[in-house]
Amino acid sequence: MRSSKSSTAKALTSALSGRWVPVFILLEIVYFCFRSEGFANPNSLQILLFYGVQVFLVATAELFVIITGGIDLSVGYVLGFATVISIKLVAKMMAIGISPPAALLLATIATLAIGVVPGLVNGALVAYLKVPPFIATFSMLGVCHGISELIINGVSAVGLPKLASDIGLGYIFYIVPGSRSSFFVKPEVPRGTAVLQILPNIVIITFVVVALFAFVLARTKFGRHVYALGGNMDAAIRSGIPVKRRILGVYAISSFLASLAGIVYAFMYVSGKADAGAGLLLDAIAAVVIGGASMFGGSGTVWRTMLGALVIAVLDLGLRMSGIPTFDEFILVGVILIFAVVMDRYMQEAS
């Protein structure tokens, strides 16, 4: 009796091993379809990807650092810093007569360049001065938060041109059923006419960037070295890998992606706040861990991290559409994170 019970448990474990995340996402979707009427709609998919872009980008950022065995606690406030910087720059540029498209483009490039700086400082502290990643990036969190608040003086940064939200809230295709279709520009239609909107711009941008960094991690020398660093630091050093430069690179990438997520935020919500990404650290780390990466470093893939992020994105939209307050989401993400860790531990012991 007892043996048959344990063999059932074993069969269940091996069937679920490494696959419980997709199953969990499916369960979430089924639950929310019953819970909220609007959820059972193909459009929900692109909406949840739309609201999830920050999580996708910041989780990818965090994954790079976590694979090396480190952690970047500053990502959320680097994101906030980038929202503030980008909007202030656009406003300044437009004030001196630069056209909106040029101002947006220049400010984006400048913000990405400035946004890498916190990461370079983090990386230098960790690699060269041997400051523990937790302390280095925690301090950077405070520094970024403080600088952002000083810049905006306690009020949200505003002043983006309408073009910004046209891009941030726009779609690649628009189809007016039975009439016409267009790219990028929403067709002028009488009020109340249904327009099919397909593929949000920022979702496409996000996934192109995420795919690029997935490629870096899986197919380049840099990526291979990142795994080696987390697997055995001594082996990496003795193999002649420029370990310090690699660590610097990893924290710079983290900061770069967080800044990009901040710029995307600014385009979506046309406002910049120091704490725009305050809740994102939990989401990002949860996505990485749910995706099966070890906090001790050496493992994890972008693909599985995206599945982890999807768990959170589905939860986020499901709760919004069910009218449940965001505070509940913090609790649930925390619980799922712990569940993921326990689940992986159990699977490891079983196999």
Binding site: R224, N232, A235, S239
Partner: protein
């Protein structure tokens, strides 16, 4: 026959302690030279001098009869001297090919300018060197973590051989291995000898030494107290050299 590696009168002091005191050893191609001695006898310091970790205070190193400047681990590697440490220095989360090529990855071009990892060719080359050394590993796609202690050792050795080691320093290669695995490592040492690699073997296992070594040197308190041809000595004599009883008998 000429030595491929020779240490002449090397001395290393740490503060007031003389860890290695005017020690000379020579190694020929295709031979295994065992280094014995109690803990603290100076074996580890001696091999660290040869592998460039420590700089000797006195004495010289010769490679193929020529004076060599070995002041850093990279100098030793460039001279074809590789050390297999007990911890093996493998990234356990990567596969066999990735480890053999770690830090020296093979790349291929994609879409013109993009350089990507050439894993198939690294795996193929790894298989070649494993075959050459008669090492059997079920799948090169497996992470090092899933391999046995002996297999890991074999991977670490293959990496050195692939990168053209002429001298292999092995520090307690059979410690922490099961009996069957110990045998395999000894077989591997024989294969390496057949291929002309010189091996410096540190071991506490008398059996290993009498099984594969050609010559041996015994160290005590930093001094080389004896050198023997393995065929012409016995475990008893070696032990007494290590303990110092041999010397006492000679004095009388």
């Amino acid at each position: 026959m000429d030595y491929i590696l020779e240490a002449r009168n090397v001395t290393k002091r740490f503060g007031g302690l003389t860890a290695v005191d005017r020690v000379s050893i020579g190694l020929r191609a295709g031979e295994a030279f065992a280094l014995l001695g109690d803990n603290g006898a100076g074996k580890s310091t001696l091999i660290k001098i040869i592998s460039g970790v420590h700089k000797p205070d006195e004495g010289e190193i010769f490679i193929n009869g020529k004076r060599a400047r070995i002041e850093a681990p990279m100098d030793a590697l460039a001279a074809g001297i590789e050390t297999i440490y007990q911890d093996l220095a493998l990234a356990e989360n990567l596969d066999v090919g990735a480890n053999i090529f770690l830090g020296r990855e093979r790349m291929k071009r994609r879409f013109g300018a993009l350089r990507v990892l050439d894993d198939p060719s690294m795996a193929e080359e790894s298989q070649k060197v494993l075959d050459r050394l008669d090492i059997k590993i079920p799948s090169l796609k497996k992470m090092i973590r899933t391999l046995s202690g002996g297999q890991r050792q074999a991977v670490a050795i293959s990496r050195s051989i692939y990168w053209d080691a002429k001298v292999l320093i092995m520090d307690e290669p059979t410690a922490a291995l099961g009996v069957a695995e110990q045998r395999k490592v000894l077989d591997l040492v024989r294969t390496l000898k057949d291929q002309g690699i010189g091996i410096i073997l540190i071991s506490h296992q008398m059996y290993d030494i009498f099984e594969v070594a050609d010559r041996l040197a015994v160290m005590r308190r930093g001094v080389k107290v004896g050198e023997r041809i393995v065929k012409e000595t016995s475990p008893d004599e070696v032990v007494s050299l290590m303990m110092g009883t041999e010397e006492v008998r000679k004095d009388r």
